[in-house]
Amino acid sequence: MRALKARNDSSRREPRGAAGCVIAALFVAPLAFGQIPPELQRAADAARSLNYTGTIVYQHGNRIETSRLVHLADAGGDYAKLINLEGPAREVIRDNDQVRCYYPDVKLMRIEPRAFHNVFPALLPQQLATLSEYYTFRKAETARIAGLDAQAYIFEPKDNLRYAHKFWVDVGTGLLLKVLLLNERNDPVEHFAFSDIQIGVKLERDMLKPPFPAPPSDWQVRESPPGEVVTKDTGWVVKDMPPGFAKIIEGYRTLRGKQGQVAHLVYSDGLVAVSVFIEPSPSAPQPVGLSQQGGLNVYSRQLNDYLVTVLGEAPGTTVRQIAYSVGRR
């Protein structure tokens, strides 16, 4: 979906769309890797250009959640609707660039105009090189997923600072059917898979309508502030960055619920990103230490009058190391 938006964006933003760069991370990399199968490019295309509907099982930590996804692509762009099937009903409706999240249990609608924008900057040539330096890419086994024949591909880290990433794609259409993140002990960290899927079905736009034309009057509507990073030298540095991670952006953000500006630095090894947030210490006590959110490890610590929070799809030791080496230049 992100890929699709980027394609739309690319015509009116920079000539090199963000997804182009993201895809470049994986698909220009053949130069570095020698060979990356075109199936992965196909997966990115299939995700945005096909109609499909299915049930997704999402597992992270001790939790398993199932959701229903409907995805439709037509001349007007692409649309998706995601409904969780357990717990309080929540819906995410995406109409091209705009994302609306409905939380009927708390009578809340959130508008996330920026939530999944493609602002991923161009990957630096050295990042493409580090991708092959720090990961081994290979074609793995074939499997049957959601009743379809699938081919697996895996990025295996060469050190213990990163997770392994495994992807299964439908042999017939190229659509991604399953993703698995594995930690240094080869245990699953996060995993999502279609348990059933229909691809290439005829769908009507009505099937992707929001639950209400407009939210009921007693609902709260919350729109995110324009969340783009204002690129700027923040004076913050990570003195002891794990090898292979390069800074891709640095600046300040205005975030909902935060007073004042939050410094945001993002580092990437070409496959994952790690974010470093630094904010003035909030008046209320904040939990510190390591926690998990989905496949993300989050490490917070107090640094003088600041709260440092580091998060990324990387092992706890990696985010902790980064959190402890944040300092002033």
Partner: protein, 178 residues
């Protein structure tokens, strides 16, 4: 991690690594020795309070280490008393940890009385799971802002289509504040 492996005084992050059982073997004895220092011990205690609070009071994962540590201590007894008062955040979390621990203990007591060890173990495992979920739910909603913002930069989401949305739907409670 770039650090002098033979430096005598443990760094706070080493104490944290030790707690999680992830400290390099070659630093293990040295850091344990360093814990005789009251300042280091205060850090150790403080981290445990915080860790327990985040885990909802279940600290079984460090039991193995505690035994090892006690054995080391017994070999050379030292009075250990943290002098510094813990930070207000730690006090708040300690209170939360106590509540969680009490509920955990009573829950285990209720469910394990008729059964044997295996049942107690299963109950504890379930309770731990529940407390892990509680701990996750207790994360401040504002951190979800961080998660959402971070998604923009995750290179592989281009391939994965819906994963960011799954995280958004799963991201516990929406922020109830204005």
């Amino acid at each position: 991690m770039v650090m002098d492996k033979y430096e005598a005084e443990p760094k706070p992050e080493e104490i944290s690594l030790l707690m999680d059982g992830e400290l390099d073997a070659e630093r293990f004895d040295s850091v344990c020795t360093g814990l005789r220092d009251t300042r280091c011990m205060a850090t150790w205690v403080c981290y445990h309070v915080i860790g327990d609070a985040l885990r909802g009071g279940a600290s079984g994962s460090i039991r193995g280490f505690a035994e090892h540590f006690h054995a080391t201590l017994e070999a050379e007894p030292t009075v250990l008393a943290p002098r510094r008062r813990p930070a207000p955040a730690a006090i708040a979390l300690a209170a939360a940890a106590t509540v969680a621990a009490v509920s955990l203990v009573s829950w285990v007591a209720l469910t394990t009385m008729p059964g044997g060890d295996s049942k107690a173990f299963a109950a504890l495992a379930t309770a731990k799971q529940a407390s892990a979920v509680r701990a996750a739910d207790a994360r401040p909603a504002v951190e979800n802002e961080y998660v959402l913002v971070h998604q923009e930069y995750s290179p592989t989401t281009a391939l994965q289509g819906v994963r960011p949305y799954l995280r958004a739907v799963a991201a516990s409670e929406p922020d109830a504040r204005p």
